[in-house]
Subunit: 523 residues, 2 copies
């Protein structure tokens, strides 16, 4: 409530917070607890009591008093004169990808504007403005609100980050401004909640749809605007964000790690360094988020590890000033093989022995995690998650998966960006051929096509929802496409048990992608 | 399509299949693939071509031709004369617990009856009839359909099993029959899809709401009915199911295991036998589902294992005629401790060493799983899943979690039921004090209250959505309630990575329960 107090001091009329700001977004099934809703109501009353001489708009769940329909609305509370002045309910409930709003909320069907100090405001909540392209809903709240001659639009949102979402938001807001000839204040949520990263970037557009100011991304921020028929920025220079795709992804992941640790009350991370690019990039991101003193690594060579895997990891650790320890796994690997000999007899070395090594490493990392209260960071990338080129209960372990929404080619892009001003990640880590090093002379390319081809096919299937013949028609080999798509579907069982993955694309593995495990489609 | 051909031979007019029978339920995000929808359309055309001299009702997705709204409807296709005669769309889209229908489907808003051989049928899909108690929706399709004077109700469903759901279905159908004074044919899906078990039990009720016949539960079945103003069963004796709660749970889990293996193309299972009741019950269920020749176990004693843990497991394996092998973990445990000594130094034995043992066992089981192509069955129960009394990447491993929707007290109930005609599970397994045996003289009761109390508190919180003060007001100790609820919420991070759990209650961990990991509620 600090913002409300200082707004009062500064003579500001209205402070706008984000969607469901009282309880966080998404509160998920906590919303099914009467007790949780009561606590939200209590919080609203406390905030309202502060709103004397200043008004505020805050988001919170609202009980539905009607005997039919869902029990709650997703609402915006207008607080002024120490009380709740008006409540606006969300009409369009996103229920795709990571969104589950119709699970909890009844859609609004009644429309009225908010009258504040004589200004008529069309107040909407996030998705309410998004029916302006490819309409997913049969009503558009702004069309209804226009009947009441509003002078200004305000939209409170909880719009999660993906690397292209800023442009989508600006486009949607611009279209609304132009269509309704109104300026808009857009207030977005900021902070990460497990896999979802809310990037902030609240903004104001004038009635021509021109972006007049963007608030900071990836951190809490406030700006002041004056309304006199259109919106004017008060007291600071106009700012438009210019981060590149990779820079955004970097900043988003750093925030994602930071908030995951802070919100769980942890400080320190542990991860395994293999000498490969994935763990190198994760180590870089973790030390940026947590500080080098809070990240430790294990180097766990086996008989199949190349010399450079240790040398490169040591060099990386020195560059990043992070602590490392070396625990060779040869004796453990031999010991397991001896213990399993009565069962395995003379069966040849195969996947079982490969996975065994990855799992021994997983056990060592979890032992350190448990002993020292460090969260294990998972280092899988999206390409290997997709085709199942990873060991469940081995290298798939972790409390948080840091780069599993980045295809391998994007991990390379990010590594190059990290090195843009000089070598941070040793060049050899970036240039050597990727390998799991679980048997002699193994290379990723033994099993997988070139990552550029693989990642294109995966993007068409995972992000763009293209089927096999559509992908083949783009010029990819039929046998390869069938094999890759089959691998993706067959490995759903592994992904079911993956740690939460920081989401940076429009379609990440996790809560936003829900696929049957036993489904026969393409299997 | 065998049913359609034989119906034709038998002179039957109409064959009724279940909801989304063409693609299985729930198809989840496969529905977002144009390619998948095209395959469903092709299947419908093929089935329609068979429908000459007989009509059929089958469930499948239907494209929404309108420019606004979701892209699909959940539909019932009436097939006759070799073509699609009529299509009825679902109006009420369940979007709670395990259901996500509004993720994909637009609700229907137009109502008409089906005219078949001069009989006016009110055809609805599953949820469409369920708005008759505590209405979750603002419209009731049958109220609309009554305007067209139907003579018969048909409802096609994909209603998943929980141990009390049969009674709920009968109650809902009875209320509809009475309210509208119409008989009903209810056709439900059968077979398991990963965690969801569809139990069949299609049924017919007359216009007084009396149940006149139930089809078999837990297997495919067909019965014939004659309609002459009311429904009469043709050619077999009236059957009403009389299974007890535990018997249903048993049959459901056996079907769940069977279908999981069959649909994934696997035959054999492996699991760890600890000498405790959980793994004993899972072994019993697995050998019932897969045959004793298809289930193998590992007995993995440590220095902390009691003698009876091996003896009891051997006796159980003999009773069930399942193969077992003993792999002691002492040397591996010592080896890990030696390797970790440079890191752990002289820090005391704690959770890290306890989990280490569970993880060594997990690695051994996964090695066998990988080497022989067996699916590892997880043996966790719902009580320990709830409070996190389990080791992630250790005893939480598995492709399928068999009894993790049964509280510990229910596992005991099931074990007693298994032994109802004589000892199958050795009595000592049932009567001894539960222990994880990960340090000297450990007992579950060192950490947890009596399971009867624990399970009651958990049921109120998990199934009944009661908050802390409501549970305390039922007479439970405040400190205990706070501690248990906090443990449940803190351990969400572990459950995120749990294997899919066969759902037998109205609120299972998994897709039907969606809770934030970093949420601060009660933490």
């Amino acid at each position: 409530m600090g913002e409300i107090t200082s707004a009062k001091t500064d003579g500001i009329d209205l402070v706008v917070f984000s969607e469901l700001s009282v309880c966080g977004y998404p509160p998920r099934d906590f919303l099914e607890f009467e007790d949780f809703i009561s606590r939200c109501e209590k919080a609203i009353d406390e905030i309202a009591a502060e709103c004397v001489g200043v008004a505020a708009i805050v988001g919170a769940p609202l009980r539905n008093q009607s005997p039919s329909g869902k029990g709650l609305f997703n609402a915006a509370f207008v607080l002024a004169d120490g009380e709740i002045k008006q409540v606006v309910k969300k009409s369009l409930l996103p229920n795709y990808d990571i969104f589950d709003e119709y699970r909890y909320f009844e859609p609004n069907r009644e429309f009225e504007v908010v009258d504040l100090n004589g200004i008529r405001i069309a107040l909407t909540i996030c998705e309410d403005l998004w029916n302006i392209e490819d309409p997913l809903y049969i009503t558009s709240p702004m069309d209804e609100l226009m009947k009441h001659n509003p002078q200004l639009m305000i939209n409170i949102a909880a719009s999660p980050f993906d690397f292209a979402h800023r442009e989508a938001r600006i486009r949607i807001l611009e279209k609304n401004c132009k269509k309704y000839n109104l300026p808009i204040l857009y207030s977005n949520h900021v902070g990460a909640q497990t896999e979802l990263i809310f990037d902030g970037g609240s903004m104001a557009l004038n009635s021509n749809g021109q972006l007049i100011h963007e608030l900071d991304y990836f951190k809490e921020a406030a700006s002041t605007f004056k309304f006199d028929g259109d919106l004017k920025l008060v007291g600071e220079g106009k700012k438009i964000d210019s981060r590149s795709k990779i820079e955004r992804i970097h900043d988003a992941i750093v925030l994602g790690i930071k908030d995951y640790f802070e919100k769980l009350g942890f400080k320190k991370a542990v991860l395994g360094l293999s000498g490969g690019i994935d763990s190198a990039v994760v180590l870089y991101l973790a030390q940026k988020a947590l500080g080098p003193e809070n990240v430790r690594t294990l180097l766990m060579p086996s008989e199949f590890s190349s010399d450079h895997s240790i040398d490169d990891s040591v060099k990386l650790s020195e560059n990043l000033e992070t602590e490392y320890e070396i625990v060779a796994i040869e004796s453990l690997f031999k010991n397991f093989q001896q213990n399993l000999k009565p069962l395995f007899r003379d069966l040849p070395f195969n996947l079982a022995e490969e996975n065994l090594q990855a799992r021994i490493r997983g056990v060592l990392l979890m032992a350190v995690s448990n002993k020292f209260g460090n969260i294990l960071l998972n280092t899988s990338n999206k390409s290997e998650c997709a085709v199942g080129y990873s060991t469940i209960y081995g290298d798939m372990n972790g409390g948080l998966s840091v780069i599993a929404d980045l295809y391998k080619t994007e991990v390379y892009e990010l590594a190059r960006w990290v090195n843009r001003n000089g070598e941070v990640i040793p060049e050899n880590i970036i240039t050597k051929a990727p390998s799991a090093e679980l048997r002699p002379d193994q290379k990723d390319s033994d099993f997988l096509p070139d990552y550029h081809i693989l990642d294109e096919i995966l993007t068409e299937y995972i992000e763009n929802r293209k089927g096999p013949s559509e992908i083949m028609n783009m010029g990819f080999d039929q046998t390869l496409v069938n094999r890759i798509l089959r691998l993706v579907n067959l490995n759903e069982y592994k992904r079911y048990q993956t740690p939460p993955i920081l989401r940076v694309s429009k379609k990440a593995f996790g809560m936003g992608r829900r696929v049957p495990i036993v489904g026969k489609y393409l299997c």
